[in-house]
């Protein structure tokens, strides 16, 4: 057994408080009882979210109130309203209770006085996650997004059925919300002003800075006539802006050429210019004699060649235009008749 040091207090002499470690203040019980009772009344009111007791009879007797020594807190219970400790605890309770679930304890029969409750509304309806929103606010934005997601494919289908040529839909070369919009945007599309008003096409990616195509080229233009102009203009724009193959994410399809007279051949127009490069747009390239256009531009200007002369370009179909093998459409079926033999590879 170790010897106690000289300065250490004798535990037998020190009056220990009830579970109150670290408090060296002796507590004479007989005169503090009223204060303890009064504090308990206040704490009970705070715990049950009731108003602080104003009636002195609620927490203590008159005799206790007349004894100034018994006042460890405010002399009258009404003074608890201004007590800083009670005020701070009330603020903490109000902050914690905001949005918290309603307790089932029937001790709490009243709402806390500082909680603002509008008429006709439950103060703490819902769980702690329901802190907000009187309207229980569902976002309307989700419905708008769903609407756009539905309208996009619908417009895609509408536009696809009009049979617009792929060369004119440089739109199809740009990634859009409806990614399939540009794939069939050139399927024998007839000019329909109603369907092509500038802001209705999700894939109406503008040539310049967001301007709808119809607005760029004016309303009333028709696809066949504007095609070569648009193709050239787009090439110029892409060259100027440095855009190129990166914009052409979606596979393209060239318009059917069976019903269209061979207009000015953009390939022939372009071929004297030299190597078009891989970043040139793949426009509609009607070949003389109605042959199918080739897919890959050749480094040297050449007349449009039949698919038999082109190695590896066996994806032509009667109804679909071949695409660039670098950006081949996954859905483009290969026509066995167009496949070249091994000797041409």
């Amino acid at each position: 057994m170790t010897e106690r040091s000289g300065g250490a207090p004798d535990p037998a002499d020190s009056p220990a408080g009830g579970g109150d470690a670290g408090t060296a203040q002796p507590a004479p019980a007989f005169w503090n009882l009223a204060a303890v009772r009064r504090s308990d009344a206040v704490v009970e009111a705070l715990a049950t979210r009731r108003a602080l007791p104003a009636d002195p009879a609620d927490g203590a007797g008159i005799a206790d109130l007349l004894d100034p020594a018994a006042a460890a807190g405010p002399a009258d219970l009404a003074g608890w309203q201004n007590d800083p400790a009670a005020r701070l605890l009330r603020a903490l309770i109000a902050d914690v209770d905001a949005g918290a679930p309603e307790p089932l304890d029937h001790r709490r029969s009243c709402r806390p006085p500082e909680q603002h409750v509008p008429p006709g509304r439950h103060p703490r309806a819902g769980g702690p996650d329901d802190e907000p929103g009187p309207g229980g606010g569902q976002r309307r934005g989700s419905r708008v997004i769903v609407l756009l997601g539905v309208v996009g494919p619908l417009l895609t289908g509408v536009l696809a059925t009009t049979g617009v040529a792929a060369a004119q839909s440089g739109l199809a070369e740009r990634p859009g919300p409806g990614s399939g919009a540009g794939e069939r945007a050139d399927r024998g599309r007839e000019p329909q002003a109603g369907a092509r008003s500038g802001g209705e096409r999700p894939d109406a990616a503008p040539v310049r800075g967001g301007t709808p195509l119809a607005a760029v080229h004016g309303t009333g233009w028709t696809w066949p006539q504007a095609r070569p102009v648009m193709a050239r203009e787009r090439r110029d724009d892409e060259k100027a802006s440095g855009q190129g193959r990166d914009d052409r994410k979606a596979p393209r399809r060239l318009p059917p050429r069976t019903s269209e007279p061979p207009a000015a051949d953009p390939w022939q127009e372009r071929s004297p210019a030299g190597d078009p490069g891989e970043d040139e747009p793949r426009g509609a390239a009607p070949e003389p004699g109605g042959a199918r256009p080739f897919v890959r531009p050749q480094p040297q200007p050449q007349p449009p060649q039949t698919p038999q002369d082109q190695p590896g370009t066996g994806e032509d179909t009667n109804d679909e235009q071949p695409t660039d093998p670098d950006e081949a459409s996954p859905a483009a079926p290969a026509d066995p008749a167009d496949l070249t033999g091994p000797e041409s590879l």
Partner: protein, 200 residues
């Protein structure tokens, strides 16, 4: 819900005895008793966690998540719960204390969820009242952190969580009388600290 659970739910004042009866039924697997038990426990746990953890970035989402974890842990532990002479509330708040300690150690700050735009008028207190209340609550938390641990736990359980003196004593291992004396001293200390800050 069994008739016993229904009767316990409509009791005038649920005390530890009722909670113990509910616990017995819940341990036996009565779904109604489990539901009532959690409905009684959850509000106290939410308030306790909010008081202990406070707001993070102005929101109680961390505290509410911890409270949810506590309820899940209580629900998971119910089949294995055995009455060892301690009240069920002490079991619940013991779990809550561990979860809160884990949350305080965690340095992860989750993204703060934002409210949806209300579709109607907002009847809640205005921004001035909200800010004043927030400042007062933060001041109260600051003062509570300066109390001794035992007194702080007592005040949080007694005042914020809303336990009675008997329930608080059961959780902390004290008598109801000792709880009342300790809460009186805690209030006196809080009052003194608040007065000193006001003067300063």
């Amino acid at each position: 819900m069994t008739s016993e659970a229904r009767a316990l739910r409509t009791a005038a004042r649920p005390d530890e005895g009722d909670l113990g009866d509910l616990t017995t039924l819940a341990v036996q697997g009565d779904p109604g008793a489990i539901e009532v038990l959690l409905a009684q426990v959850r509000p106290m746990v939410v308030r306790y966690c909010r008081a202990r953890l406070g707001r993070i970035s102005g929101q109680y989402h961390i505290a509410d998540d911890v409270a949810q974890e506590v309820c899940i842990a209580v629900l998971s532990a119910l089949p294995r719960y055995r009455d060892m002479g301690r009240p069920f509330a002490s079991f619940v708040f013991g779990i809550a204390a561990h979860k809160i300690a884990d949350a305080l150690r965690s340095a992860v700050r989750a993204a703060v969820p934002t409210e949806d735009l209300p579709d109607g008028p907002d009847d809640r207190p205005g921004p001035e009242e909200t800010v004043v209340r927030y400042i007062e609550a933060e001041r109260a938390r600051d003062l509570l952190t300066r109390l001794p641990d035992h007194q702080r736990e007592l005040v949080l359980l007694r005042v914020v969580a809303g336990l009675s003196a008997e329930e608080t004593g059961n959780v902390l291992g004290m008598t109801a009388g000792a709880v009342r004396v300790a809460q009186h001293r805690a209030l006196a200390r809080l009052r003194a600290m608040a007065s000193e800050e006001s003067i300063a």
